[in-house]
Structure formats: structure tokens, C-alpha cells
Symmetry: C2
Subunit: 325 residues, 2 copies
């Protein structure tokens, strides 16, 4: 397999933590990792490198960043995939710029309306629920959501081994008459579509359950839902932690409970899941969250390798060009 | 004060739990409660009654229910407010039908584009964040959101004593260039509006913080955010509870932690908050959640009384007709 291009400059903890993750991934997974970044960041770690002279910052305007910084690590990583020098790219950097670089350099798959960000939402005790679009397209047409359903289903199969993934449409009630115009139109199209196991409308409360595998929505709603969920979980975990630290007695009690709580906390930890993917571009593109640790990078590289192994992009190409009968 | 009309037939636990709540509210708050419902449900409890012959079920189509069941408790409760027989209405029944009954019988305030559901989201440690629209209007025009901001600000002041409520617009990034067309247009209008303390775009993760008092959004996004948050909190609370019950040792430890966790759980309990309100109709209308207990009814009646006392509807009338300079 060609190496996996790792944007060493992307992420709140770049480059040190990202490079450390790359080194660990190479060791632990036996995968070739191509470190892409400034020479001083990527050289001397015993891994192949692709050096560049620019960095797109986390707060750079994504469009301008990609257009103007042609020798940035993000753009170079995407080019490496395009040029057959890497099999996949991984970045924890500026999400908009990662999308832009992947789209401009790799290009979209033929037949894809718009690439979408597919975010796995961990559901302790079962496989994650894949939410897409989680933010690539603030406005969507109904037929795009049908394509998101196809692409998300392929990902659920390849990434989580789900045979016939159940697809729900995010709405504000189970009835097909509920929702906005986009949802009502998408509902009808999904209902009529071949090759999608559409189970109807779902609500926000269904995301964290075992009842659904793929949730499709526009990128605005998806991003709001994702961040609301993250905020809510962070809040309540913080409150539980506060209670556990509130007295010496509580601290002792917490020690007893931690073994039972730790697996849940670990499953909810985004670092354990290897990040979101941009589906619909001509290559595997993993978008890790900005605060990624070395561990998150290892898991992202693992997912990238697995998706290359499974031929995800070819399988996506097949469903977007000729939907299965 | 005129009595508060309580829809005795609305809610998963109606009529018994609702009537019990009405009786407790009358006792504890010294408020006149008018029980509206079928004779066998409302008579014999020592409270004034308004009897009817029909009930709109939780799963009835809201529009049909309100149009066809003219002698239903919901419609009669709204009429009581319209006719000056009650000062406010409270229902834990079918949300859509409650909105419909209030809108058709009370009418909307002059100048109101669309009434909105304002839901207080409890934030333990500080005042709740008011989210509107939480589901009345799946599709909104930008100027409606400006009016939601005005109405939500009045409610934050009257209900939670917040002097100059901070209003945020729910989006997918703080930058005003982020979001869908509705959000971008609403952002510009809110920025230019007098009399609103607009602090810019907020994200889902900001809802459960002390940084914001009122969050405006369309009813589709608001409802998705609300249900996603509810689902997430329920999920994690369930997992913590599971851990606490996982062994005898854990149960003992849980007893130590409960005193510190109980206040948080209590603040998050929707029964403690008195429910959502439909803002923009010509009367106080409290929409309690479907699973309301007697305690929830007491709190709903309390909020209804307080809002009547404060002259909420007149204050809303003033801001929607002539926005403050």
C-alpha cells in the first residue's frame, strides 16, 4: 500500500503531538506514514517526509488559505494522494481548508453532487452512528441527501461491518409530514430510492441509540446537532466530575465507580474513533478533530489504512454513479 | 387575578396526575385553578371546572383535532382565556394542537409574524437559556427571528429577572459569514436591530453555558437541537446510573455521591421548570412536556401566574408593535 500522508502541521497540538502520532502509527500498525510539513517539524523522525514552506492556520479563511498557500502541508498532502504518492490523507487541521484542499486537488467522484463530512458519533455498547453531512454544506438539495445516504451506507459497511445499514432522515417527528421542505422532499426521494435501507424520519434523541446506523441531514442541521451533543455531554460529564471531587469522601467513592465509568468515557472519547471522513472526493480523506492527540492520530491512520484496504473510494464511486438496483 | 385554565386531559399521565397537580397548585400557590376536561375527570376535586365532551389525543393530527373537536378541553381552555374567564392556559397535551388552539382562539398579537415556542433549557448553576423557536415553525423568514429575539428577551427579563438578556443566533460558527442563507440574513438584521442585545452567532455547545440568555433559531433547527440535547443527557445519565448499580460496592459509593449529584439532576429535571411558552399569542399559554407529573403542573401554574402578574403579554405586545428605540 502507498503511504498515508499525514498533515503534520494541522491541529491545536501540531506539529509535536501529530508527528508523535505518526511515528506511533508506523510502529504499531506497520503502515508507511508520509509526514507532510515544514522541514524542521517533519525531519529527523525516521519517517519519509514531504516538505513544504507554508502552513494553513486553524483560523485562516479556508478558501483563501487553499488558494493562496499552494505550498502548504494540507495542499501538498492532497496532491500526494492525487499524484499517486499516497493512498490517503489525514489532517487534524482547519476543517474547511482540509475540505477545500481535498476537493480542489483530489477532485470529486464523478456523479457526486457535493462531498459530505461523515462523522461517527460514538454510542457506547454498540457501533457508532454515522451522521452526514456534519458541516460541509450549509444548504442542501433533497437529492444530495439521497446520495449522502448511499455514501454513508457504504461507510457503515466498510468501517463498522454493518451488513444493511439502517438510514434515518433527521427531522422533528417520525411522521413523513413533519419537517421543513428539504426534509419532506428528501423523505419522498429516500422512500423511493433503491438500494437504501431507509427506516424513515428520526429525531435527535435517536442518534445515541442502537436503532439507527446512518443519519442523513443537511450540513447546517448536522453541525448544530453534533455540537449541541458534544456540548451537552461535556457539560454533564463535567458536573459528574465536580460531584466526584466535591469532598474527600466523594473522591473515595469515585474510585469505586471509575472502573464501571471508564469504558463509557473511553468510548465517548473522540480520540478513540479516528475522526470524520470527507466522502465523495477521489481519495480517502480523514478529518480529525482539532484537539487530536497522538492517540487520535494513530486511530485516524488506522481508519485510513482500513478504508484504503476495503477499497472504500471504489465502492463509493460505484454507488454514486450507478445506484444499486 | 382570573383563574388559570388547566387542560386536565392533556399529557401522558392525564387526567389523574394533571388534576392532582392542579389541586396542589391551588393549595400551595393560592392560585385559582380552573380544571378543563371531561366531567368525570374534573369534578369532585374542590376546584372550579369547565366541562367539555371531547379530548384531543396526544397522537391526533393537531390541525384536524383543533378544527373538529370544538368541544375539546384544549379548545375550551383557549376560549376561556379569550373570553376573559381565565388569565392563562396550561396544557401538557398534544403540542401542535395546543399551539393551534391558542392561535385560533386567542389569536396572535398584532404585528407578530408567527408565534414561537420558547423553551427554557436548564443550565445548573445559572438561569436557563431560552431557546426559540423550539418547533412551532419548521421554516422561518429572517425577520421572524428578529421578532423571536425581541420576544425571547422580554421573557428572559420577566421570567428570570435578566436585565439586558444576551441574544445569540444559533449557527455553525461564530463568524457572520458562517451558516445558511437564513442565518446570514438574520444575522445582518439582528446586528442592525435596536433594542436587542445581540452578541452574534452561537453554537450548540454554547446553549448549556452562562454566556448566553436567549438563543434564536428556526423551529426545525431548534427542535432538532433540543431533542438531541435531551437524548444526549438522558443517555449519559443512564450510563452513570448503570455504573452506580453495577455492583454492591458501586451502590454504596453512589450513596456518597448522590448528595452532590442530586441538585444537578434536580435542576435538569424538566418537571422543575414549568414548561415552554407559546409567545406571540394574545394570552399566556404554557406548553408542558407530555410526561408532566403533578409537580410539573404546579411549576407550570406558578410560571403562568408569574407571567400574568408581570404583564408579559402586554410587554410582548409593545415590542412586536413598536420595537424599542
Amino acid at each position: 500500500m502507498l503511504p498515508i500522508a499525514l498533515d503534520a502541521m494541522g491541529g491545536d497540538r501540531a506539529p509535536d503531538e501529530i508527528v508523535a502520532g505518526g511515528v506511533q502509527a508506523a510502529e504499531q500498525l506497520g503502515v508507511d506514514v508520509l509526514l507532510v510539513g515544514l522541514p524542521e517539524a517533519v525531519e529527523g523522525h525516521g519517517l519519509p517526509t514531504l516538505t513544504c514552506s507554508e502552513v494553513i492556520a486553524m483560523d485562516d479563511d479556508p478558501g483563501q488559505g487553499v488558494r493562496r498557500k499552494k505550498d502548504s502541508s494540507l495542499v501538498r498532502a492532497a496532491e500526494a494522494v492525487r499524484d499517486g504518492k499516497a493512498s490517503a490523507m489525514v489532517s487534524a487541521g482547519n476543517t474547511g481548508a482540509t475540505m477545500g484542499a481535498a476537493l480542489l486537488r483530489m477532485g470529486r467522484l464523478k456523479g457526486v453532487h457535493r462531498p459530505a463530512i461523515a462523522t461517527p458519533i460514538p454510542v457506547p455498547g454498540t457501533t457508532p452512528t454515522i451522521l452526514l453531512d456534519a458541516g460541509a454544506n450549509a444548504e442542501c438539495a433533497p437529492e444530495w441527501l439521497v446520495q449522502f445516504a448511499r455514501m454513508g451506507s457504504v461507510l457503515a459497511t466498510d468501517r463498522y461491518g454493518i451488513d444493511k445499514p439502517r438510514v434515518g432522515l433527521l427531522s422533528i417527528g417520525e411522521e413523513e409530514t413533519k419537517g421543513n421542505t428539504l426534509v419532506k422532499e428528501a423523505h419522498a426521494l429516500l422512500r423511493a430510492a433503491d438500494g437504501i435501507r431507509f427506516v424513515g424520519n428520526v429525531e435527535g434523541r435517536d442518534i445515541l441509540t442502537d436503532d439507527i446506523d446512518v443519519v442523513v441531514t443537511d450540513g447546517f442541521t448536522g453541525n448544530v446537532a453534533l455540537k449541541t451533543l458534544e456540548g451537552g455531554l461535556k457539560f454533564i460529564v463535567g458536573k459528574v466530575f465536580e460531584a466526584m471531587m466535591s469532598s474527600d469522601e466523594a473522591k473515595e467513592a469515585a474510585k469505586v465507580l471509575l472502573p464501571a465509568l471508564a469504558p463509557v468515557a473511553d468510548e465517548l472519547d473522540p480520540d478513540a474513533h479516528g475522526g470524520a471522513m470527507l466522502l465523495g472526493v477521489d481519495g480517502v480523506c480523514i478529518i480529525s478533530h482539532g484537539s487530536s492527540s497522538a492517540r487520535a492520530v494513530v486511530n485516524a491512520v488506522r481508519v485510513a489504512r482500513d478504508m484504503v484496504d476495503k477499497g472504500l473510494v471504489e465502492r463509493l464511486r460505484a454507488v454514486v454513479v450507478t445506484p444499486p438496483a
